[in-house]
Symmetry: C2
Subunit: 467 residues, 2 copies
């Protein structure tokens, strides 16, 4: 109960906030604020916020931050809450600032191939708005139907199409950011090339609201590519599928998507969605081309040849775009499908692409050593895999067993020059691995950046870096 | 002479450096060090260095930086000295650290499409080494035959192929950096996706050696594209050429290069290289496709149609790759050719791509208003133009007249949401425009980053930010 009691500081702050921003929607009752405590990391117990606010303008965000600075009240910026490392989870005594009311697409600039958006815009809504102009916003996290652009920017989110079009970072031209003292800056702009001064845009991307709060973004659009052609290949083992991926990479193939599922995931997806996948296979690859026409056929031919050379048991093609959409949807539902089999916690590691076969073997070894079910799926073309620990619902030791397994998986990834976070951020879940992966001196630099931009430590404290 | 006299601090430092690094090549005589004072900004009078050193290892760079920190001696990292904003010009009493002996290509990793290189590697040498493996390093500044990768990283250099493949930043996966206290860190790696912690890689790129010294880089290679098909289009005016560029951009065309030259530049290039360009034309576009075969033909057809719709007087195709190479070489020689017509100072501005016609008109207006010859060429497809002030060799007021003209050109670019530096860095030449373009609060953030990473102010002081 103690944590739920507003401190004197908190009471004063809330009164000042109400007085300064009478039109601001502010929730303070636990029954109202509880829904904003969690993100998709249910295993991390979040704190109890002092309050939850829903600003509707940049000026209002700036006013909130100024008041927070004045009263030394920390704040947690939050989008849709679909994050997977605890970047948006509530902090005891902090103000959670929900950005979803800043949800306008301010401009689609067809002549410059840019979109200017507020952070609360849903990723898929931007995609649809761009499509109306024959344009395309590439970054597509699996959560694209509900995650926000602000969350994507905060986490530098990936997605299925990253293998060809890059991650969220690669789609950003400029930002508007509210700093820790409430000042509002703009970085970048609509220029394709712009090198004056230090690049602040890239510093804020992926910083999880710990260095500033993004209130607007200028994003890069592309001409809409032709509809995808989709290939599925089944393999006797994940090792064979991994070899096919490595062969495609070194052949210089850059498909629009290159996704992998292991046997456990195939079974779970097929059980949940009844698509008729080959559940006897050890692994499946989905390879897609958006080159259109003969070029797409040629690209998938190279992919099919690589699969066959690696020992695929069957190579199929989606009959039409509807079937292809359905298969892609099945891949996006991998995590959800595994959740039907038990308590599923999705992890996120990356390795240099040539190491995908070895990393897949390492995950299998960890599963065996820990007598655990670990489903594997992910963006194999990027070397970015999602080992997913699936535990019985009544396993009281599940948390500790997962911790032990993930330590082994991270150790394997790091030994291959990999990363403990490919696209899901650092948040709370991964911060203890920072020194191990980046080195003490790099983390010292990160701390100095945090101190420089947020000297009072009020911006999402404890995320990315431990307090 | 005063500036040339080593101070007591300097004498002590040099003695300590010689003692600590007896094998380090160290020049201290003005006759030896003078060659390392300038970059390609002859109009900026550089300082006189305390000494010039040529380290041969990361450990030696670190030892030098540690000694500099201990003795409070500033240092200036330097590559080939082909920079265009004064990033590498000598500073009075500072040690110039020439990185050209760190010139090894450490690895071409075909399986992961990466190159690991030291900073002194010449851009074109990397390109050739990659080509031996059927791979391709995309960033290609006009100076690619002599500029170093380290300089490219320090300036976030552009080039002709940026319009399709992005700038230097977009080709970097990881760095090794010596910090201001001599600590050595690594950022990034060979992972296609890696989001753990703050992104330090992007902070160092483009920071001109003011935040750290890059001693190694992991760069992204691509499969070698097919040979270029090259189209030239001549227009009655730069305005018409600008309209063709805008039409191609909004049509979603992403050619491999999309370059512009105005009449003055066409005449200068043709006089210098005798290619037989249409010197009666008001402007010329060069458009290239590396899609290969029918796709390249189709792409250039769209480009040709856009040119004709914008009023081109003729559209030609290079007969073969030799002729195309020759034409591209002519474009790269634009600045050099203009130098044959007088003292030529190349500038570098960028605008959102739809604004290219307006920016070209603005430059013409400035030339008329100041009764100056301003040649214009550049990467029109990126909105990145190089207005080049060409002055009579005996014009004693040239410096002041250029300053007045460039102030007007920058004002015009900024009024269009443009930038005063598209790809040539900030250095000394552009730093006075930082506040105007980025805003005081953004520059305050940049200063706080500089203070955080270089608290003693020894790393290339006065570059990017005024001291």
């Amino acid at each position: 109960m103690l944590a739920r009691m507003a401190t004197t500081t908190g009471t004063r702050f809330l009164a000042a906030l109400r007085a300064a921003e009478p039109d601001l929607r502010l929730l303070t009752e636990a029954t109202d604020t509880d829904a904003y405590r969690y993100d998709e990391t249910a295993y991390l117990e979040p704190g109890h916020p002092l309050g939850v606010v829903f600003p509707t303008s940049t000026a209002q965000v700036a006013a909130i931050v100024r008041l927070c600075a004045e009263h030394r009240v920390p704040l947690v910026p939050r989008g849709a809450g679909s994050g997977l490392s605890g970047g948006a989870t509530a902090i005891d005594g902090a103000l959670t600032v929900v950005m979803t009311q800043l949800d306008r697409i301010l401009e689609i600039d067809v002549a410059n191939l840019t979109a200017t958006v507020q952070p609360g815009v849903i990723n898929a809504d931007l995609g649809r708005a761009a499509a109306e102009h024959g344009l395309f916003y590439a970054p597509d996290p699996a959560s694209f139907e509900f995650c926000t652009i602000g969350g994507n920017l905060a986490e530098n989110s990936g997605g299925l199409r990253c293998v060809k079009y890059g991650v969220t970072r690669d789609a950003v031209l400029g930002l508007e950011v509210v700093l820790a003292d409430g000042a509002v800056i703009r970085s970048g702009g609509k220029n394709a090339k712009d090198v004056l001064g230090y690049d602040l845009t890239h510093l804020f991307i992926g910083s999880e609201g710990t260095l500033g709060i993004i209130t607007e973004a200028i994003l890069r659009l592309r001409p809409m590519p032709p509809p995808m052609l989709t290939l599925l290949a089944f393999f006797p083992s994940v090792a064979a599928a991994g070899e096919a991926v490595a062969a495609m990479t070194s052949a210089g193939l850059v498909p629009a998507t290159l996704e992998l599922m292991d046997r456990f995931t195939i079974e779970a997806v097929d059980a949940a969605m009844r698509i008729g996948l080959d559940t006897s296979a050890g692994a499946m690859l989905m390879v897609e081309s958006d080159l259109g026409g003969a070029a797409a056929e040629a690209e998938l031919k190279v992919a099919a040849d690589a699969c066959e050379a690696a020992g695929s048991t069957s190579v199929l093609r989606a009959a039409d775009t509807t079937e292809a959409d359905w298969l892609r949807q099945a891949r996006r539902k991998a995590h959800w499908s595994l959740e039907q089999a038990g308590v599923a916690r999705m992890d996120d590691v990356g390795v240099p692409r040539s190491r995908v076969p070895q990393m897949l073997a390492a995950i299998e070894k960890v599963a065996t050593a820990h007598s655990m079910r670990i489903g594997v799926f992910g963006h194999a073309g990027d070397g970015n895999l999602h080992p997913t620990y699936v535990m019985d619902r009544d396993d009281l030791a599940a948390g500790a067993r997962i911790e032990a397994a993930r330590a082994d998986i991270y150790a394997a990834a790091l030994a291959m020059g990999g990363t403990v976070s490919g696209e899901h951020g650092t948040g709370i879940a991964k911060r203890s691995y920072l020194v191990r992966q980046r080195g003490a001196d790099s983390v010292r630099v990160m701390r100095s950046l945090k101190d420089a931009l947020d000297p009072l430590g009020i911006l999402n404290p404890g995320k990315v870096l431990e307090v």
